[in-house]
């Protein structure tokens, strides 16, 4: 008998047998498609989709689920990702609203429209912003929306040609510079100082009449609050630039301080972070944006408005940047975020940020005791950056953690810290879980000293071991290689 581990996990295409199937749609007889659709419109051979029984299908996807770490199964302290628990009641909430069609008569969608209208208002209150669009499909999409609005604002003031650059700090998320490029800007990077904050002198030098915006995350990607934020806002505004808030780290401060009060002009939120809509293995996220009143005229269309005849979608935004996506937004996720805000209220959200910061500082202390160092010796916010001792690689520590059933922290980010480990435990983990995480890390360091080769070979107990990523990229196989490949 071979060990199960020695076998390749079967592909769905290998489970396929001609003529099997799991589901049947209603039948309407076989129409004369050629006659109805015209010459040359039909495909000549069917797509090679799997043909499996319902039980085979269930086994396949259930076994795949077992080959997957998740918040529900594992501690998952990825920095800047806010992998907090996703409450089950939100799933029930979302199902109540999922059957609506975007083009049905608005009077038959008043409940959903009211929910969206109230969510616009609540997110505005929480961020200190005057107007909110729920449209963007993800954080990066919200960034693009916000930067395009800033662009339109400068154009309206006759400064569109002059302002060609966006400033981002060296520790910024990769989406910030990528967004600036997509909006047609070039990127100026400013360095951080020895306390992990934006270097004010460098910022002052970089600001000028060609700068359209400064994009910041606060707390920033090393988990440090930009304490001179009011000064930064003043400098940016004095130079005629707009201040953009990347909401990836809002979980640290939600309910306590607001980007709008700090002087930010635009903010995007990652509802899949702070407002705990599920990450779904990589999406769908949702990235609403909020703006100050001077930018409200540039919001994307449509917006939900309240009228005498009820709620409806309005395209009436005088200088709108246009549409950012089809329909109105990822409504399924907007419902979940609404449910979360309504469950917690302001006091609950303040407890979220308080305990998120408490847990992150506690885990930092425990990791320092276990032998890790931190580049910035100060209280951190919801996340912190650490490093393994000299001679131990972050990658090996991360892989060794997998054998404990624990997901690693974010590794090798931010780029400003060598061998960086960015850790964000979130408020929903217990101290016992954090203790166990730190103890596992301590054991791994001890093992690294005693038996370095062991660490380089980790993980050992996962469904597969380290992968050959070089061959994956050099000789890409990006779809199932069918035995015989007929011409399409």
């Amino acid at each position: 008998m071979p060990e199960p581990r020695d076998l390749d996990f079967p592909s769905l295409f290998e489970r396929s047998r001609p003529g099997r199937r799991a589901a049947r749609p209603p039948r309407h007889g076989e129409p004369e498609l050629e006659q109805l659709l015209g010459d040359g419109q039909l495909r000549e051979r069917p797509p090679r989709l799997p043909e499996v029984s319902e039980l085979d299908l269930v086994r396949h996807f259930t076994q795949l689920a077992h080959r997957q770490f998740s918040i529900d199964g594992n501690v998952y302290p990825l920095g800047s990702c806010t992998m907090k628990y996703n409450p089950k009641v939100h799933e029930e909430a979302a199902r109540l609203f999922q059957e609506l069609h975007p083009y049905q008569a608005p009077e038959t969608a008043q409940g959903t429209l009211q929910l969206l209208f109230e969510l616009q208002r609540d997110l505005g209150a929480l961020t200190g912003m005057d107007a909110v669009s729920l449209q963007p499909a993800a954080g990066a999409h919200g960034e693009l929306t916000g930067i395009l609005m800033i662009r339109a604002y400068h154009e309206a003031r006759g400064e569109g040609d002059q302002r060609r650059a966006v400033i981002v700090p060296d520790g910024a998320h990769g989406t910030n510079p990528a967004t600036a490029s997509m909006a047609g800007y070039h990127v100026i990077e400013v360095r951080s100082d020895e306390r992990g904050e934006v270097d004010l002198a460098a910022l002052r030098d970089a600001l000028g009449p060609e700068v359209a915006a400064v994009m910041l995350t606060n707390p920033n990607t090393v988990g440090v609050f930009e304490t001179r934020i009011l000064e930064i806002a003043r400098l940016a505004h004095d130079a005629g630039a707009q201040l953009y808030y990347d909401g990836a780290n809002l979980n640290a401060i939600v309910g306590r301080v607001r980007p709008g009060d700090m002087g930010f002009d635009v903010v995007h939120l990652n509802l899949h972070k702070t407002f705990t809509t599920p990450h779904g293995g990589g999406g769908p996220g949702t990235g609403p944006i909020g703006v100050k009143s001077h930018l409200a005229d540039f919001l994307p269309v449509p917006l939900v408005v309240a009228t005498e005849d009820g709620y409806r979608m309005s395209e009436d935004v005088p200088r709108s940047i246009g549409r950012m996506r089809s329909y109105y937004g990822n409504v399924g996720n907007l419902v979940r975020a609404y449910a979360y805000i309504r469950s917690l209220g302001l006091e609950g959200l303040r407890r979220v940020s308080g305990h998120a910061v408490l847990n992150a500082n506690y885990l930092r202390v425990r990791m320092q005791q276990a032998g890790f160092t931190v580049p910035y010796e100060r209280l951190n916010m919801h996340e912190f950056v650490a490093r393994p001792p000299e001679g131990v690689h972050t990658l090996d520590v991360a892989k060794a953690l997998l054998d404990y059933g624990m997901h690693p922290m974010t590794v090798y980010f931010p780029l400003t810290v060598k061998e960086a480990m960015m850790v964000e435990p979130t408020e929903t983990e217990s101290l016992e879980t954090l203790d166990a995480y730190a103890e596992a890390l301590g054991e791994i360091l001890a093992r690294a000293k005693a038996d370095p080769e062991y660490l380089e070979g980790a993980p050992y107990r996962t469904p597969v071991r380290r992968l050959d990523e070089v061959t994956a990229a050099r000789q890409p196989v990006l779809a199932y290689p069918f035995a015989s490949d007929p011409e399409s």
């Binding site: 581990r5 996990f9 199937r21 799991a22 209603p26 659709l37 419109q41 039909l42 797509p47 989709l49 299908l57 689920a65 770490f69 918040i71 199964g73 109540l96 609203f97 059957e99 609506l100 069609h101 083009y103 049905q104 008569a105 929910l115 929480l126 990769g174 990528a178 304490t227 309910g255 301080v257 009060d261 899949h272 990450h279 779904g280 293995g281 769908p284 246009g322 996506r325 329909y327 109105y328 990822n330 409504v331 399924g332 309504r342 469950s343 917690l344 209220g345 609950g348 308080g354 408490l358 209280l379 217990s430 469904p463 597969v464 071991r465 050959d468 994956a472 990006l478 779809a479 399409s488």
Partner: protein, 447 residues
Amino acid sequence: MPYIPHSQDDVRRALEAIGVDSIDALFDELPSSLLNPGIDLPPAMDETSLLAHLRALAAKDSSAGPDFLGGGMRRHFIPAVTPHLALQSEFVTAYTPYQPEVAQGVLQATFEFQTMMTELTGLDVANASLYDGATAVAEAALLAVRQTRRDAVLVSRGVHPETRAVLATYLRPLGVAVETLDLEGGCTPLPASPAEAACVIAQQPNFLGVLEDMRGLAEAAHAAGALLVAAVDPLSLAVLRPPGAYGADVAVGDGQTLGNPSSFGGPSFGFMVVRAAHLRQLPGRLVGQTTDAEGRRAYVLTLQAREQHIRRSKAKSNICSNHQLTALMATVTMAALGPQGLREMAAGSVRQAHRLAERLRAAGARLPLEAPFFNEFVMATRTPPARLRSELARRGVHAGVPVGTEYAFGDAVLLSTTELVTDADLDALLAALRDVGELAGAGAAHA
């Protein structure tokens, strides 16, 4: 109860370890003028009151009854098994599969998704998903601009108006010109001189439901050195000629019709499938097959040098989160139905649309287009479209997506069918149309 496990003792223990005396003290570095502003939020609700509140809201919505709404989203058959498998909590609560040893579930399912999309479209490489059909078209135009180094695109007016609006938003800041090709008889005429264009973008079936001459458009585009971007309904490809077979270089679209609820417009997912020659320009995540240290087949995110977390300002797109879970809904659905089941859905949908059109014509309705259509068509109306839609809704029928004035039909709506539309639903729509006075020879009293 904001899902926080800490007892009072836990909080004390943690504060002691950190060396501060209260949670608020952790925020001492923040400018005091900013702390604790007045924030006006409704009071917290327990689970029971929350669900009661949400149910009361949902009760103000109505989605029941015969349904003929289309315009890019349609309520197709979703097998019961789909949400059970795709929404297992390991898939729902996982992050992006950056640690492949413990993410083979999401990675392999995504690889299988990519394979199915290449099969449906007849093209070589599919990414792991994009946000929606409209942003997928915009990303395809950007790909064509990078690939050809030209700075204009031609887009058919048959492409969904919201998609064209998104395209304009994305291209304007980059100085790429967008020229619109007017329709003739509901179809896109072959462009006379696409010489300066990076691509021609056409939708199949188009926004009006009409089937385009995609092969002709591909030839015209290629003759001028431009790419053909085909915006397609993936379900239609169970029966229609795949983009790879008519010469498209890029196929994009929205995947809602494959196993996802319409959710008032989102989330669905966008997809992009390209010829191998455009692989390095493809935006978004990509899963590849490889082996692990013991030689077992395994899957991993690959060719990441295209992406923002590696290339930053030089990335092909700023996309990070995609729409993995809704793409998984489609993967399970396609596997549940197989080629035959998917074909039956598409064919049933076509059959009901043609049956509806026939009955409407017989009842005196004016269907202004003669061209072959798929599962959606235009009907000219006497009543202004938004009012007609409301009048029909009042009679329990969801129908009548307004067709914009840019198409010059006067007042007109789109009617669309899926395989879920029964013959009794057709009766109900005709009765409702008679009742509102849309069909000749009958007035309100007649119903």
